[in-house]
């Protein structure tokens, strides 16, 4: 007969057996909560998500082989579920803890990021330009790490003239933010061209100091351009959002900070080539233009300038000659025709009349020929005369002009003035001699009647009142 009940111990034993066979080789993801290290060296903690949690145990002999449980860290634990028979509870016996991404820390990070973003700390307008060729750069990182080594190696390879100043600082742990801030402030006073701040890769917790709010604000306040180089796999850190530039590795940061000497040498070489090429091109262009001008047919044969005109003139002359010949021959033909008609007509006439007619025709022919010759001669004569006259006219005009140009008057204008002056003076003398008053002085008198000078005795009659003018005055008298 079946028992009606089993004991608590039996139940827990059964559960233990059942679970123990089914929940082995587990990987469970969750966030660590309330980790506790017992005196015996075992760790106890809860693994939780939004709705549920489970107790976990990490025994001492596993604890030193895996990362330590930390509050708020999201992890994946490996292990199996065991039942604690005494208490009727079950838990995960953890043999390994792996980073599982994000936990509370991540939420904090997001919150801070949002806050600083709202304040404008990440705004691109605040990002400073890195100087292209820095003389001096500062590096804030651990003194002994690979970071400084990588940066020195890279800078020496790319741009060995840049001076590197190391400002050593802790890059991990609770004191790290404070030290980083101190070194940031210090380096900002060293007249550096660029600052690199960073560390190598690590867990979220290792990088956590670079999510420090105060550090972020200090980076924002810097006067010197700064590059962040925090090694990581996925998520960014706050400092990278605030920095002027971010690099995934220290090597990349150094590459951002200094130029590449080979690149610059190549650039110089290419500039040199381009300058030479453009100058050569310019020279060729000028030479070509010059040659073209030299080869210009008008410059080489200036006659060409008026050749066209000459051609057209000759063409016209030819046309004229041709046309006039044409006209002449037409007339001649007509004349011949007429002659033939007359001859034909004359053939029907009697001999004596025919002879007379022929005679007339011959005379007509002779006369017309003569007329043409005469007219031609006349024309030639006219042309010649015209030519001669125009030449004469031109010569005369030219001579006149030359004579005029060389004339004494044009060349010696003062002489004319002098002549005129002399003439004037002579006239003046004459005037003086002619002055009647002068005569009065010599004893002559002037007789006036009715204010008119009397020139003849016949002008006066007895009783006329006259005025006799002497040199020094006049008297009135009467003719008796």
């Amino acid at each position: 007969m079946e028992k009606e009940y089993i004991s608590v111990s039996d139940l827990n034993q059964k559960i233990h057996k059942h679970i123990g066979n089914n929940f082995i080789n587990l990987k469970v993801k969750g966030e660590i909560s309330k980790p506790y290290l017992s005196k015996s060296g075992h760790y106890y903690f809860d693994l939780k998500d939004e709705n549920s949690k489970i107790k976990c145990t990490l025994f001492k002999n596993y604890a030193f082989r895996t990362i330590k449980p930390k509050e708020g860290v999201e992890v994946i634990v490996k292990g199996k579920v065991t039942v604690y028979k005494r208490d009727g509870t079950y838990n995960i016996q953890v043999i390994k803890i792996q980073k599982g991404g994000t936990g509370n820390l991540y939420l904090q990070y997001l919150k801070l990021k949002e806050k600083l973003k709202k304040e404008g700390l990440f705004d691109p307008k605040h990002k400073k330009q890195l100087p292209p060729v820095p003389k001096k750069i500062g590096v804030i990182t651990a003194e002994g790490g690979a970071v400084i080594h990588d940066i020195i190696t890279t800078v020496k390879r790319r741009w060995p003239f840049t001076e590197i100043l190391l400002f050593p600082s802790k890059v991990q742990g609770n004191d790290a933010p404070e030290e980083l801030i101190k070194q940031l402030k210090k380096s900002d006073k060293f007249n550096l061209d660029t600052i690199i701040i960073g560390r190598g890769g690590g867990s979220v917790e290792d990088l956590w100091c670079f999510n420090d709010e105060k550090l972020a604000r200090e980076v924002f306040k810097l006067k010197t351009p700064i590059i962040s180089a925090v090694g990581h796999e996925s998520d960014f850190t706050i400092i990278e959002e605030v920095a002027d530039k971010r690099a995934a590795t220290p090597t990349a940061a150094a590459e951002l900070a200094v130029p590449d000497i080979t690149e610059k040498l190549d650039k110089l070489e290419s500039l040199k080539k381009r300058i030479k090429r453009t100058l050569e091109y310019k020279l060729n262009e000028c030479r070509r233009d010059y040659d073209n001008i030299c080869r210009n047919r008008l410059l080489n044969n200036p006659k060409l300038i008026y050749k066209e005109k000459l051609d057209s003139f000759e063409n016209l002359t030819y046309k004229l000659q041709y046309n006039s010949k044409q006209i002449l021959s037409k007339r001649e033909n007509k004349f011949k025709e007429l002659k033939n008609t007359l001859k034909y007509l004359s053939s029907n006439l009697e001999d004596s009349k025919r002879n007379r007619l022929n005679n007339i025709i011959n005379r007509l022919e002779f006369n017309s020929r003569n007329l043409i010759i005469k007219k031609e001669k006349e024309l030639t004569q006219i042309t010649k005369t015209l030519e001669y006259k125009s030449n004469e006219l031109m010569k005369t005009s030219e001579n006149q002009l030359n004579r005029f140009k060389n004339s004494y008057i044009l060349k010696n204008p003062q002489k004319i003035i002098k002549n005129k002056q002399e003439e004037l003076d002579k006239n003046k003398e004459k005037l003086v001699l002619l002055n009647p008053r002068k005569t009065l002085k010599r004893g002559y008198t002037l007789t006036k009647h009715d204010n008119k000078v009397i020139l003849s005795s016949k002008q006066l009659k007895k009783g006329d009142k006259i005025e006799i003018e002497f040199d020094d005055g006049s008297i009135n008298a009467k003719v008796i």
Partner: protein
């Protein structure tokens, strides 16, 4: 000219090149610019080949600056 920094020299060089390449320069002017460019190139070349190589330093707590030894 001697006092120009490397990047200033490079910048001026680039300006000269684009000026020359624009073709908008007289021959005399082009030759003048060419001479200027050659001096700048020499200047840059010398800066790259003759410049003293720098040594990394460490800034100590008391602000002393000493050569940084990686060992």
């Amino acid at each position: 000219m001697e006092k120009l920094s490397f990047e200033e020299s490079l910048k001026q060089l680039e300006e000269i090149v684009s000026k020359l390449e624009s073709g908008d320069v007289s021959l005399d002017n082009a030759i003048e610019e060419f001479d200027k460019a050659m001096v700048l190139i020499k200047n840059c070349d010398e800066k790259l080949t003759n410049a003293e190589q720098s040594i990394a330093k460490i800034v100590k707590e008391n602000n002393d600056i000493i050569d940084f030894n990686e060992e």
